[in-house]
């Protein structure tokens, strides 16, 4: 870890008073900064909070929202809640995966640009089927709209 990383982590830890019972909040802040939980960062907070690494790893793997794998620049979350599911969210997911060469076990593209994953509900059932790109909501999606969205994002990146 660089000194910058350590400063980021120290700031997060001190904003939670180094309180081990706030470990989830600390991890959320780390994930907000890095978009995932780097292993070294968890090892670092384990020492600072006085919690075993195995315990922190347990928390990180228990919650679906925590990720131990690095995510792409654009994290696309496709809602597969009941409302979105019945309004055909699965074809949108399949289309996105097809364009980006991703699958059930591979969520992030090799160039580190895109991550595609599903969520159980975005709370935007009125806009079903919905997806988000880095927390911006795209309502009433179709496979065609998904293709356009990816194209637009790629163009913005110049690829």
């Amino acid at each position: 870890m660089t000194t910058e990383d350590i400063k980021v982590l120290d700031d997060i830890l001190s904003s939670h008073d180094y309180n081990p019972s706030l470990v989830i909040a600390v991890m959320q802040d780390i994930q907000r900064y890095y978009r995932y939980l780097p292993e070294e960062s968890l090892t670092y907070i384990s020492q600072k909070l006085g919690l075993p690494e195995a315990k922190i790893y347990g928390v990180a793997t228990f919650y679906e929202n925590f990720s131990l794998d690095a995510k792409g620049k654009y994290v696309i979350k496709i809602c597969d809640g009941t409302a979105c599911h019945v309004r055909n969210s699965v074809p949108i997911l399949e289309e996105m995966r097809k364009i980006l060469g991703l699958s059930d076990s591979k969520h992030t593209t090799d160039d580190g640009l895109f991550t595609v994953e599903t969520v159980s509900c975005l709370g935007a059932c009125g806009l079903a089927p919905a997806c988000t790109v880095n927390d911006e909501v795209y309502p009433a999606m179709t496979p065609e709209k998904a293709r356009e969205l990816i194209k637009k994002l790629k163009e913005a990146e110049g690829v």
């Binding site: 968890l42 075993p52 690494e53 195995a54 922190i56 790893y57 347990g58 793997t61 228990f62 131990l68």
Partner: protein, 568 residues
């Protein structure tokens, strides 16, 4: 009026029982359970101890506090079906190669399946195969045999403060694992093996060295020498129908000779050497006026590893004495060196220990001479039991015998090393004046007993020493925090990694706390009838210092410099 419960129609009075399970036990019924240990927190994972109350609702007896006039049943038709279903589901996702399993005959899952007459498993095992982790030098984890009772996790975290393993993932994907899917060897595991000691199945077991030991016993031109630790004698007999605490050391010596060992010794002898050296160290430390930090004992390899990983700054305060096993290992190899050169024999040194961490200790570089370990192989009490069984030795019928010359005498002080407080008492006997009064004063000073933390003041000449005796690494961790913060001050601190000391070691047959206490009591009984009570009254020890192998060589053979001391 005394509070009472009605258990299966029987009135059972209770006072401060922790849960319904213990009240039921008073009624003479042992409810089946995988995840309940009195010394661990209540978890309620296995659901085998379910009971039904008068309104027909079912609850886990382990996690229900008893209430006055509560009426419960432990054996209704519904509970019968529940228990069988739980067992069937557990077995469905469990390897069923019982005949070649390490735990065959001692596995609680197997025992309960037999007890409940389970004769079919209707469900397929759909779990992905998980690799066995044999990276550790002392402990093997087989996740395929894990039933997720969490006993190991709570032991490692709550009691030992090591935290090498924990639950990860959730629901049907839940597993017990070190952090980030690492192997056990990559963690801070101290090899105390208490996880294996509480594991109901063979998901965590102590690594076996029997194969190598048999090979050495059958090899030509080999001198096999074996030493037996104090705590082994009061536990081994349990597997052959003796009571916990019955001292069977004489039979153990005979059995070892029948196994083919050429020479048998008692590690208690080396414990006397440890006392000679450690008490000298203490007196010198006090003389120097270096009293800010206490002198920590060094007999327990689990404790040493714990200091190295969790409190490395304390390493300079840990005694430089080797453990009795390693002292003896060095002395044995040195003693037979000349004879081996003349006769062309090769000495193989084996130790029978109640402990899994001793396996890791024997493999440390500090305890090797020219790359060869001073103690070649360490086997546990349980492994020796297997050897005795394999050869068909009728343990109850064989005659006891004595250890071999020349290290044939041990003091009572050396024998009580096997329980918490023993090392301290032995050291105090050495440094205190030689009188019956002084012996009694030490006995009743508070160093005896099964409590995790004991402290005492002992007068030594005109100074009062403050002494602490700790067992269980979690207790040690807490005490260290207090010492570092200045809240507590001690001159001497004895630490044993396992709660209760070596009698509770991971190499011993499975036992609950009550029986472990009986083992400890058995050691004190042995001490009572010992002819020599103090290490410095042991004539063999004194002879060794005056004219024997230790003359001018005590430091070389009996002390160690741990490499981790150098790192700052």
């Amino acid at each position: 009026m005394a509070k009472y419960m009605i258990v299966d129609g029987i009135r059972v009075e209770f006072t401060d029982e922790r849960n319904v399970l213990q009240v039921v036990q008073k009624a003479g019924i042992h409810l089946p359970t995988f995840c309940y240990y009195t010394e661990l927190s209540i978890y309620g994972a296995c659901r085998m101890c379910m009971v039904e109350d008068s309104r027909g609702s079912v609850m886990a007896a382990c996690s229900t506090p008893p209430r006055d006039k509560m009426e419960i049943r432990t054996n209704t038709s519904r509970l019968h079906d529940y228990r069988k279903m739980i067992l069937e589901l557990l077995l469905a996702s469990h390897c069923r190669d019982c005949t070649i399993c390490e735990k065959d005959g001692r596995c609680r899952l197997q025992m309960l399946a037999t007890r409940f007459g389970l004769n079919q498993v209707r469900f397929k095992d759909t779990r992905p195969e998980m690799p066995i982790d044999d990276s550790s030098i002392a402990i093997i984890r087989n996740p395929g045999k894990c039933i997720l009772c969490g006993d190991c996790v709570r032991m490692c975290n709550e009691v030992q403060h090591v935290g090498a393993i924990d639950f990860a993932y959730r629901g049907s994907n839940a597993i017990v694992t070190p952090a980030f899917g690492r192997t056990l060897a990559q963690t801070d595991c101290v090899h105390c093996g208490q996880c294996a000691a509480v594991c109901p199945t063979a998901a965590i077991v102590v690594k076996s060295d029997l194969k190598n030991v048999w090979k050495a016993l059958y090899a030509p031109n080999t001198r096999t020498v074996v030493q037996v630790a104090p705590a082994v004698r009061v536990a081994l007999g349990e597997e052959f129908g003796l009571k916990p605490g019955d001292n069977s050391i004489g039979k153990i010596f005979t059995a070892l000779r029948m196994c083919g060992f050429n020479t048998v010794f008692d590690t208690s002898f080396a414990a006397d050497l440890t006392i000679m050296e450690e008490s000298k160290e203490l007196v010198e430390k006090l003389k120097k006026g270096d009293t800010q930090m206490p002198l920590f004992t060094s007999c327990c390899p689990g404790w040493i590893k714990f200091v190295e990983t969790k409190h490395p700054d304390l390493m300079p305060y840990v005694s430089t004495c080797k453990s009795p096993m390693e002292m003896f290992g060095a002395v044995i190899k040195d003693y037979y060196k000349k004879a081996d050169e003349e006769s062309g024999l090769k000495t193989v040194s084996v130790a029978v220990m109640p402990c899994s961490a001793k396996k890791a200790e024997a493999a440390r570089d500090e305890f090797k001479t020219n790359g060869v370990p001073d103690v070649d192989y360490v086997i546990t009490t349980t492994e020796l039991i297997k050897m005795i069984r394999e050869l068909g030795i009728q343990f109850n019928e064989i005659e006891p015998s004595a250890p071999d010359m020349p290290f044939s005498i041990s003091s009572g002080a050396g024998m009580i090393f096997g329980t918490t407080g023993g090392v301290t008492e032995a050291a105090l006997r050495r440094v205190a004046e030689n009188s019956q009064y002084a012996m009694k004063e030490i006995e009743y000073s508070g160093v005896r007993g099964f409590d995790g933390v004991k402290s005492a003041y002992v007068t030594l000449g005109d100074t009062a020493l403050r002494i602490a005796v700790v067992s269980g690494l979690g207790n040690a961790d807490e005490l260290i925090k207090k010492i570092k913060s200045g809240e507590e001050h001690f001159d001497f601190v004895e630490v044993m990694a396992c709660p209760g000391g070596c009698v509770s070691g991971a190499g011993q047959p499975h036992a609950y706390v009550e029986n472990k206490k009986k083992r400890a009591a058995g050691l004190y009984t042995t001490d009572k009838s010992a002819l020599v009570k103090r290490s410095n009254d042991n004539p063999v020890v004194m002879h060794m210092y005056e004219t024997g192998v230790l003359k001018n060589r005590a430091h070389e053979l009996l002390h160690v410099h741990y490499h981790t001391c150098d790192k700052k």
